[in-house]
Symmetry: C2
Protein backbone atom coordinates (compact mmCIF):
# COMPACT_ATOMS: atom_id res chain seq x y z
CA UNK A 1 0.00 0.00 0.00
CA UNK A 2 1.45 3.41 -0.95
CA UNK A 3 2.62 5.46 2.05
CA UNK A 4 2.81 9.22 2.41
CA UNK A 5 6.47 10.10 2.88
CA UNK A 6 7.57 13.56 4.05
CA UNK A 7 11.23 14.35 3.32
CA UNK A 8 13.11 17.51 4.26
CA UNK A 9 16.37 18.40 2.48
CA UNK A 10 18.78 21.24 1.80
CA UNK A 11 19.78 23.78 4.47
CA UNK A 12 17.98 26.71 6.07
CA UNK A 13 19.19 30.32 5.86
CA UNK A 14 18.76 32.96 8.56
CA UNK A 15 18.84 36.59 7.40
CA UNK A 16 21.24 39.03 9.08
CA UNK A 17 19.80 41.90 7.03
CA UNK A 18 18.33 42.29 3.56
CA UNK A 19 21.56 41.25 1.80
CA UNK A 20 23.44 38.98 4.23
CA UNK A 21 22.47 35.65 5.77
CA UNK A 22 23.84 32.70 7.71
CA UNK A 23 23.46 29.50 5.73
CA UNK A 24 23.91 25.83 6.50
CA UNK A 25 25.75 23.95 3.78
CA UNK A 26 23.73 21.09 2.41
CA UNK A 27 23.45 20.07 -1.20
CA UNK A 28 20.12 18.24 -0.92
CA UNK A 29 21.62 15.24 -2.78
CA UNK A 30 20.79 12.73 -0.05
CA UNK A 31 17.19 13.95 0.23
CA UNK A 32 16.89 13.70 -3.56
CA UNK A 33 18.19 10.10 -3.49
CA UNK A 34 15.75 9.11 -0.73
CA UNK A 35 12.82 10.79 -2.52
CA UNK A 36 13.68 9.02 -5.77
CA UNK A 37 13.84 5.63 -4.02
CA UNK A 38 10.36 6.02 -2.51
CA UNK A 39 8.89 7.37 -5.78
CA UNK A 40 10.29 4.42 -7.75
CA UNK A 41 8.48 2.10 -5.38
CA UNK A 42 5.11 3.76 -5.83
CA UNK A 43 4.91 5.91 -2.71
CA UNK A 44 3.68 9.52 -2.38
CA UNK A 45 6.52 11.94 -1.59
CA UNK A 46 6.29 15.46 -0.19
CA UNK A 47 9.69 17.19 -0.29
CA UNK A 48 10.27 20.29 1.85
CA UNK A 49 13.51 21.80 0.64
CA UNK A 50 15.46 25.04 0.09
CA UNK A 51 16.15 27.17 -2.97
CA UNK A 52 19.71 26.06 -3.73
CA UNK A 53 19.24 22.36 -2.94
CA UNK A 54 19.23 19.87 -5.82
CA UNK A 55 15.75 18.51 -6.50
CA UNK A 56 14.46 15.21 -7.91
CA UNK A 57 13.08 15.26 -11.45
CA UNK A 58 9.33 15.90 -11.75
CA UNK A 59 7.06 13.01 -10.85
CA UNK A 60 3.29 12.75 -10.57
CA UNK A 61 3.60 11.48 -6.96
CA UNK A 62 6.04 14.22 -5.91
CA UNK A 63 5.09 17.58 -4.36
CA UNK A 64 7.85 20.10 -3.59
CA UNK A 65 7.60 22.95 -1.07
CA UNK A 66 10.36 25.57 -0.78
CA UNK A 67 11.23 27.02 2.64
CA UNK A 68 13.95 29.50 3.65
CA UNK A 69 14.51 30.00 7.38
CA UNK A 70 13.64 27.94 10.46
CA UNK A 71 10.40 29.88 11.01
CA UNK A 72 9.16 29.05 7.50
CA UNK A 73 10.22 25.40 7.91
CA UNK A 74 8.28 25.21 11.18
CA UNK A 75 5.12 26.69 9.66
CA UNK A 76 5.29 24.29 6.72
CA UNK A 77 5.98 21.14 8.76
CA UNK A 78 3.27 21.93 11.31
CA UNK A 79 0.78 21.57 8.44
CA UNK A 80 2.39 18.60 6.69
CA UNK A 81 3.54 16.32 9.53
CA UNK A 82 -0.02 15.39 10.67
CA UNK A 83 -0.95 14.13 7.17
CA UNK A 84 2.09 11.90 6.55
CA UNK A 85 3.04 8.36 7.64
CA UNK A 86 6.81 8.86 7.69
CA UNK A 87 9.08 11.89 8.17
CA UNK A 88 12.68 11.72 6.94
CA UNK A 89 14.14 14.91 8.33
CA UNK A 90 17.46 15.39 6.54
CA UNK A 91 17.43 19.20 6.18
CA UNK A 92 20.33 21.04 7.86
CA UNK A 93 18.51 23.38 10.25
CA UNK A 94 20.17 26.61 11.40
CA UNK A 95 20.69 26.29 15.15
CA UNK A 96 21.08 30.06 15.68
CA UNK A 97 19.41 33.09 14.16
CA UNK A 98 20.78 36.67 14.14
CA UNK A 99 19.41 39.08 16.74
CA UNK A 100 21.60 42.20 16.54
CA UNK A 101 24.80 43.26 14.80
CA UNK A 102 26.92 46.15 16.00
CA UNK A 103 30.40 47.67 16.10
CA UNK A 104 32.82 46.31 18.66
CA UNK A 105 32.86 49.85 20.14
CA UNK A 106 29.22 49.57 21.25
CA UNK A 107 30.08 46.32 22.99
CA UNK A 108 33.09 47.91 24.73
CA UNK A 109 30.89 50.74 25.99
CA UNK A 110 28.30 48.36 27.44
CA UNK A 111 28.80 47.06 30.97
CA UNK A 112 26.42 44.11 30.54
CA UNK A 113 26.51 42.63 27.03
CA UNK A 114 23.14 40.95 27.63
CA UNK A 115 21.44 44.34 27.26
CA UNK A 116 22.41 44.19 23.56
CA UNK A 117 20.32 41.05 23.12
CA UNK A 118 17.14 43.11 23.27
CA UNK A 119 18.33 45.51 20.55
CA UNK A 120 17.41 45.33 16.89
CA UNK A 121 19.02 46.73 13.76
CA UNK A 122 16.80 49.38 12.25
CA UNK A 123 18.71 49.82 8.98
CA UNK A 124 17.87 47.48 6.08
CA UNK A 125 21.51 46.95 5.15
CA UNK A 126 23.77 47.13 8.19
CA UNK A 127 26.58 49.55 7.40
CA UNK A 128 30.19 48.52 7.60
CA UNK A 129 32.69 51.09 8.84
CA UNK A 130 34.49 49.62 11.82
CA UNK A 131 37.28 47.03 11.66
CA UNK A 132 35.37 44.58 13.86
CA UNK A 133 31.70 43.82 14.31
CA UNK A 134 29.81 41.62 16.73
CA UNK A 135 26.78 39.56 15.81
CA UNK A 136 24.50 38.29 18.58
CA UNK A 137 22.59 35.10 17.82
CA UNK A 138 19.72 33.31 19.52
CA UNK A 139 18.98 29.58 19.50
CA UNK A 140 16.23 28.54 17.07
CA UNK A 141 13.43 26.14 18.10
CA UNK A 142 14.40 22.47 17.71
CA UNK A 143 12.04 21.46 14.91
CA UNK A 144 12.73 17.73 15.24
CA UNK A 145 11.41 17.77 18.82
CA UNK A 146 8.04 19.05 17.57
CA UNK A 147 7.43 16.36 14.96
CA UNK A 148 6.11 13.62 17.28
CA UNK A 149 4.03 16.26 19.11
CA UNK A 150 2.37 17.16 15.82
CA UNK A 151 1.89 13.49 14.90
CA UNK A 152 2.67 10.85 17.57
CA UNK A 153 2.22 7.95 15.13
CA UNK A 154 4.57 9.22 12.41
CA UNK A 155 7.75 7.17 11.83
CA UNK A 156 10.54 9.68 12.37
CA UNK A 157 14.05 9.54 10.91
CA UNK A 158 16.39 12.21 12.32
CA UNK A 159 19.84 13.08 10.96
CA UNK A 160 22.94 13.97 12.91
CA UNK A 161 26.02 15.39 11.20
CA UNK A 162 29.24 15.55 13.18
CA UNK A 163 32.75 16.39 12.06
CA UNK A 164 35.85 14.27 12.68
CA UNK A 165 34.63 11.97 15.46
CA UNK A 166 35.04 8.23 16.08
CA UNK A 167 32.41 5.64 15.12
CA UNK A 168 31.67 5.07 18.83
CA UNK A 169 31.13 8.78 19.43
CA UNK A 170 28.89 9.02 16.36
CA UNK A 171 26.70 6.12 17.56
CA UNK A 172 26.63 7.42 21.13
CA UNK A 173 25.46 10.86 19.97
CA UNK A 174 22.87 9.21 17.69
CA UNK A 175 21.41 7.25 20.63
CA UNK A 176 21.22 10.40 22.78
CA UNK A 177 19.48 12.14 19.87
CA UNK A 178 17.10 9.25 19.39
CA UNK A 179 15.76 9.58 22.94
CA UNK A 180 15.84 13.38 23.13
CA UNK A 181 13.95 13.82 19.86
CA UNK A 182 11.62 10.79 20.19
CA UNK A 183 12.89 9.61 16.83
CA UNK A 184 12.54 6.03 15.61
CA UNK A 185 15.88 6.14 13.80
CA UNK A 186 18.83 8.53 13.62
CA UNK A 187 21.10 8.58 10.58
CA UNK A 188 24.50 9.58 11.95
CA UNK A 189 27.26 10.72 9.63
CA UNK A 190 30.60 12.51 9.71
CA UNK A 191 31.42 15.30 7.26
CA UNK A 192 34.94 13.91 6.87
CA UNK A 193 33.47 10.73 5.42
CA UNK A 194 31.24 12.37 2.85
CA UNK A 195 32.63 12.96 -0.63
CA UNK A 196 31.37 12.92 -4.19
CA UNK A 197 31.18 9.13 -4.49
CA UNK A 198 31.14 8.06 -0.86
CA UNK A 199 28.81 8.72 2.05
CA UNK A 200 29.49 6.65 5.16
CA UNK A 201 26.62 6.61 7.64
CA UNK A 202 25.12 4.61 10.51
CA UNK A 203 21.39 4.17 10.88
CA UNK A 204 20.74 3.72 14.58
CA UNK A 205 17.63 2.72 16.54
CA UNK A 206 17.29 1.71 20.21
CA UNK A 207 18.97 -1.67 19.71
CA UNK A 208 20.56 -1.89 16.26
CA UNK A 209 23.17 -0.14 14.12
CA UNK A 210 23.06 -0.49 10.32
CA UNK A 211 25.89 0.74 8.10
CA UNK A 212 25.80 2.35 4.64
CA UNK A 213 28.60 3.57 2.40
CA UNK A 214 26.88 5.66 -0.25
CA UNK A 215 23.85 7.90 -0.66
CA UNK A 216 22.13 5.11 -2.55
CA UNK A 217 22.84 2.61 0.25
CA UNK A 218 21.50 5.10 2.82
CA UNK A 219 18.31 5.56 0.79
CA UNK A 220 17.89 1.78 0.43
CA UNK A 221 18.45 1.24 4.16
CA UNK A 222 15.82 3.83 5.09
CA UNK A 223 13.44 2.40 2.52
CA UNK A 224 13.85 -1.12 3.97
CA UNK A 225 13.20 0.05 7.53
CA UNK A 226 10.09 2.01 6.53
CA UNK A 227 8.55 -0.84 4.56
CA UNK A 228 9.57 -3.43 7.16
CA UNK A 229 7.74 -1.42 9.87
CA UNK A 230 4.70 -1.16 7.61
CA UNK B 1 38.58 44.80 -32.23
CA UNK B 2 37.59 42.20 -29.60
CA UNK B 3 38.29 43.28 -26.04
CA UNK B 4 39.05 41.11 -23.01
CA UNK B 5 36.21 41.62 -20.53
CA UNK B 6 36.47 40.43 -16.92
CA UNK B 7 33.10 40.14 -15.15
CA UNK B 8 32.51 39.16 -11.52
CA UNK B 9 29.06 37.96 -10.41
CA UNK B 10 27.23 36.10 -7.65
CA UNK B 11 28.04 36.58 -3.97
CA UNK B 12 30.92 35.45 -1.76
CA UNK B 13 30.52 33.18 1.28
CA UNK B 14 32.62 33.32 4.45
CA UNK B 15 32.80 30.12 6.52
CA UNK B 16 31.91 30.24 10.23
CA UNK B 17 32.88 26.59 10.61
CA UNK B 18 32.75 23.49 8.41
CA UNK B 19 28.94 23.55 8.12
CA UNK B 20 27.88 27.20 8.57
CA UNK B 21 28.71 30.30 6.54
CA UNK B 22 27.74 33.93 6.03
CA UNK B 23 26.55 34.50 2.47
CA UNK B 24 25.75 37.56 0.42
CA UNK B 25 22.57 37.20 -1.60
CA UNK B 26 23.13 37.67 -5.29
CA UNK B 27 21.59 35.65 -8.07
CA UNK B 28 24.26 36.36 -10.70
CA UNK B 29 21.52 37.28 -13.22
CA UNK B 30 22.91 40.74 -13.97
CA UNK B 31 26.45 39.40 -14.49
CA UNK B 32 25.03 36.76 -16.82
CA UNK B 33 23.17 39.43 -18.84
CA UNK B 34 26.30 41.56 -19.14
CA UNK B 35 28.44 38.56 -20.14
CA UNK B 36 25.91 37.54 -22.80
CA UNK B 37 25.84 41.07 -24.27
CA UNK B 38 29.63 41.18 -24.70
CA UNK B 39 29.77 37.62 -26.07
CA UNK B 40 27.08 38.40 -28.65
CA UNK B 41 29.22 41.28 -29.88
CA UNK B 42 32.34 39.18 -30.39
CA UNK B 43 34.30 39.98 -27.23
CA UNK B 44 36.25 37.60 -24.97
CA UNK B 45 34.61 37.19 -21.55
CA UNK B 46 36.12 35.83 -18.35
CA UNK B 47 33.45 35.34 -15.66
CA UNK B 48 34.52 34.99 -12.03
CA UNK B 49 31.46 33.79 -10.15
CA UNK B 50 30.19 31.67 -7.24
CA UNK B 51 28.69 28.19 -7.02
CA UNK B 52 25.01 29.11 -6.68
CA UNK B 53 25.00 32.00 -9.17
CA UNK B 54 23.24 31.54 -12.53
CA UNK B 55 25.73 31.22 -15.39
CA UNK B 56 25.57 32.10 -19.11
CA UNK B 57 25.25 29.20 -21.53
CA UNK B 58 28.55 27.78 -22.84
CA UNK B 59 30.33 29.87 -25.47
CA UNK B 60 33.72 29.46 -27.14
CA UNK B 61 34.74 32.96 -26.02
CA UNK B 62 33.62 32.45 -22.40
CA UNK B 63 35.81 31.18 -19.55
CA UNK B 64 34.24 30.66 -16.10
CA UNK B 65 36.14 30.58 -12.80
CA UNK B 66 34.38 29.64 -9.53
CA UNK B 67 35.41 31.35 -6.30
CA UNK B 68 33.97 31.02 -2.77
CA UNK B 69 35.22 33.52 -0.17
CA UNK B 70 36.90 36.93 -0.42
CA UNK B 71 40.37 35.38 -0.11
CA UNK B 72 39.76 33.12 -3.13
CA UNK B 73 38.25 36.03 -5.10
CA UNK B 74 41.34 38.13 -4.35
CA UNK B 75 43.77 35.40 -5.46
CA UNK B 76 41.82 34.87 -8.69
CA UNK B 77 41.47 38.56 -9.59
CA UNK B 78 45.11 39.33 -8.84
CA UNK B 79 45.98 36.96 -11.72
CA UNK B 80 43.18 37.96 -14.09
CA UNK B 81 42.95 41.76 -13.73
CA UNK B 82 46.37 42.47 -15.36
CA UNK B 83 45.41 40.56 -18.54
CA UNK B 84 42.01 42.20 -19.19
CA UNK B 85 40.93 45.50 -20.74
CA UNK B 86 37.75 46.00 -18.72
CA UNK B 87 36.59 44.83 -15.28
CA UNK B 88 32.86 44.80 -14.50
CA UNK B 89 32.84 44.01 -10.80
CA UNK B 90 29.25 43.09 -9.96
CA UNK B 91 29.90 40.34 -7.40
CA UNK B 92 28.48 40.95 -3.91
CA UNK B 93 31.59 40.78 -1.73
CA UNK B 94 31.29 39.83 1.96
CA UNK B 95 32.42 42.88 3.95
CA UNK B 96 33.09 40.88 7.13
CA UNK B 97 34.52 37.45 7.82
CA UNK B 98 34.05 35.37 10.99
CA UNK B 99 36.87 35.38 13.53
CA UNK B 100 35.51 33.65 16.65
CA UNK B 101 32.16 32.35 17.88
CA UNK B 102 31.42 31.77 21.54
CA UNK B 103 28.72 31.56 24.20
CA UNK B 104 27.43 34.81 25.65
CA UNK B 105 28.78 33.57 29.02
CA UNK B 106 32.40 33.81 27.83
CA UNK B 107 31.73 37.38 26.76
CA UNK B 108 30.17 38.23 30.15
CA UNK B 109 33.21 36.84 31.93
CA UNK B 110 35.63 38.91 29.83
CA UNK B 111 36.45 42.43 30.99
CA UNK B 112 37.76 43.56 27.58
CA UNK B 113 35.83 41.99 24.65
CA UNK B 114 38.72 42.82 22.30
CA UNK B 115 40.74 39.99 23.84
CA UNK B 116 38.25 37.62 22.18
CA UNK B 117 39.25 38.91 18.74
CA UNK B 118 42.53 37.02 18.95
CA UNK B 119 40.82 33.71 19.76
CA UNK B 120 39.99 30.98 17.27
CA UNK B 121 37.50 28.14 17.34
CA UNK B 122 39.34 24.83 17.49
CA UNK B 123 36.34 22.57 16.91
CA UNK B 124 35.33 21.82 13.30
CA UNK B 125 31.63 22.25 14.01
CA UNK B 126 30.99 24.80 16.73
CA UNK B 127 28.68 23.24 19.31
CA UNK B 128 25.41 24.80 20.23
CA UNK B 129 24.30 24.51 23.85
CA UNK B 130 23.69 28.01 25.14
CA UNK B 131 20.65 30.15 24.39
CA UNK B 132 22.76 32.96 22.95
CA UNK B 133 26.01 33.05 21.02
CA UNK B 134 28.27 35.86 19.89
CA UNK B 135 30.10 35.91 16.59
CA UNK B 136 33.04 38.29 16.16
CA UNK B 137 33.72 39.43 12.60
CA UNK B 138 36.63 41.25 10.95
CA UNK B 139 36.49 43.51 7.90
CA UNK B 140 37.62 41.87 4.66
CA UNK B 141 40.04 43.62 2.25
CA UNK B 142 38.25 45.95 -0.20
CA UNK B 143 38.88 44.07 -3.45
CA UNK B 144 37.66 46.89 -5.68
CA UNK B 145 40.38 49.21 -4.32
CA UNK B 146 43.06 46.75 -5.52
CA UNK B 147 41.90 46.48 -9.13
CA UNK B 148 43.52 49.69 -10.47
CA UNK B 149 46.66 48.87 -8.48
CA UNK B 150 46.90 45.54 -10.29
CA UNK B 151 46.15 47.17 -13.66
CA UNK B 152 46.09 51.00 -13.82
CA UNK B 153 44.82 51.05 -17.41
CA UNK B 154 41.83 48.73 -16.92
CA UNK B 155 38.37 50.30 -17.34
CA UNK B 156 36.69 49.64 -14.01
CA UNK B 157 32.93 49.40 -13.37
CA UNK B 158 32.04 49.16 -9.67
CA UNK B 159 28.62 48.30 -8.25
CA UNK B 160 26.91 49.78 -5.23
CA UNK B 161 23.76 48.24 -3.77
CA UNK B 162 21.84 50.26 -1.20
CA UNK B 163 18.44 49.61 0.35
CA UNK B 164 15.56 52.08 0.47
CA UNK B 165 17.35 55.37 -0.26
CA UNK B 166 16.49 58.36 -2.48
CA UNK B 167 17.85 58.81 -6.01
CA UNK B 168 20.00 61.73 -4.78
CA UNK B 169 21.48 59.62 -1.99
CA UNK B 170 22.18 56.78 -4.43
CA UNK B 171 24.02 59.08 -6.83
CA UNK B 172 25.88 60.82 -4.02
CA UNK B 173 27.12 57.47 -2.64
CA UNK B 174 28.06 56.36 -6.17
CA UNK B 175 30.23 59.48 -6.67
CA UNK B 176 31.96 58.94 -3.31
CA UNK B 177 32.59 55.34 -4.35
CA UNK B 178 33.88 56.37 -7.75
CA UNK B 179 36.65 58.46 -6.20
CA UNK B 180 37.46 56.13 -3.30
CA UNK B 181 37.78 53.06 -5.54
CA UNK B 182 39.35 54.80 -8.57
CA UNK B 183 36.52 53.41 -10.67
CA UNK B 184 35.57 54.79 -14.09
CA UNK B 185 31.88 54.09 -13.51
CA UNK B 186 29.70 53.02 -10.59
CA UNK B 187 26.40 51.26 -11.20
CA UNK B 188 24.23 52.30 -8.26
CA UNK B 189 21.03 50.43 -7.47
CA UNK B 190 18.50 50.01 -4.67
CA UNK B 191 17.32 46.55 -3.58
CA UNK B 192 13.76 47.91 -3.27
CA UNK B 193 13.78 48.64 -7.01
CA UNK B 194 14.94 45.24 -8.15
CA UNK B 195 12.34 42.61 -8.96
CA UNK B 196 11.91 39.79 -11.44
CA UNK B 197 11.16 42.01 -14.44
CA UNK B 198 12.55 45.35 -13.31
CA UNK B 199 15.97 46.55 -12.28
CA UNK B 200 16.31 50.30 -11.84
CA UNK B 201 19.89 51.54 -11.79
CA UNK B 202 22.03 54.62 -12.35
CA UNK B 203 25.39 54.41 -14.11
CA UNK B 204 27.47 57.26 -12.74
CA UNK B 205 30.83 58.70 -13.77
CA UNK B 206 32.53 61.96 -12.71
CA UNK B 207 30.14 64.13 -14.69
CA UNK B 208 27.20 62.11 -16.01
CA UNK B 209 24.34 59.95 -14.73
CA UNK B 210 22.71 57.41 -17.07
CA UNK B 211 19.54 55.58 -16.13
CA UNK B 212 18.42 52.00 -16.84
CA UNK B 213 15.24 50.13 -15.93
CA UNK B 214 16.03 46.47 -16.57
CA UNK B 215 18.99 44.11 -16.47
CA UNK B 216 19.10 44.20 -20.26
CA UNK B 217 19.19 48.02 -20.28
CA UNK B 218 21.98 47.97 -17.67
CA UNK B 219 23.99 45.53 -19.81
CA UNK B 220 23.43 47.66 -22.93
CA UNK B 221 24.45 50.84 -21.11
CA UNK B 222 27.69 49.29 -19.85
CA UNK B 223 28.37 47.86 -23.30
CA UNK B 224 27.93 51.30 -24.92
CA UNK B 225 30.27 52.98 -22.45
CA UNK B 226 32.97 50.34 -22.90
CA UNK B 227 32.88 50.43 -26.68
CA UNK B 228 32.59 54.23 -26.77
CA UNK B 229 35.77 54.52 -24.67
CA UNK B 230 37.53 52.09 -26.98
Amino acid sequence: MPMKILITSGGTTEAIDSVRAITNHSTGKLGKEIATTFLKNGHQVTLVTTKNAVKPTKHQNLTIHIVSDVASLKRKLEKLVPIHDVCIHSIAVSDYTPVYMTDISELKNTSNPETLLTKQNTESKISSQSEYQVLFLKKTPKIIQLIKKWNPSIILFGFKLLVDVSKDELIHVARVNLRKNHADYILANDLNHISKDKHKAYLVNQTEVYEANSKNEIAMLIYEKVTKDE
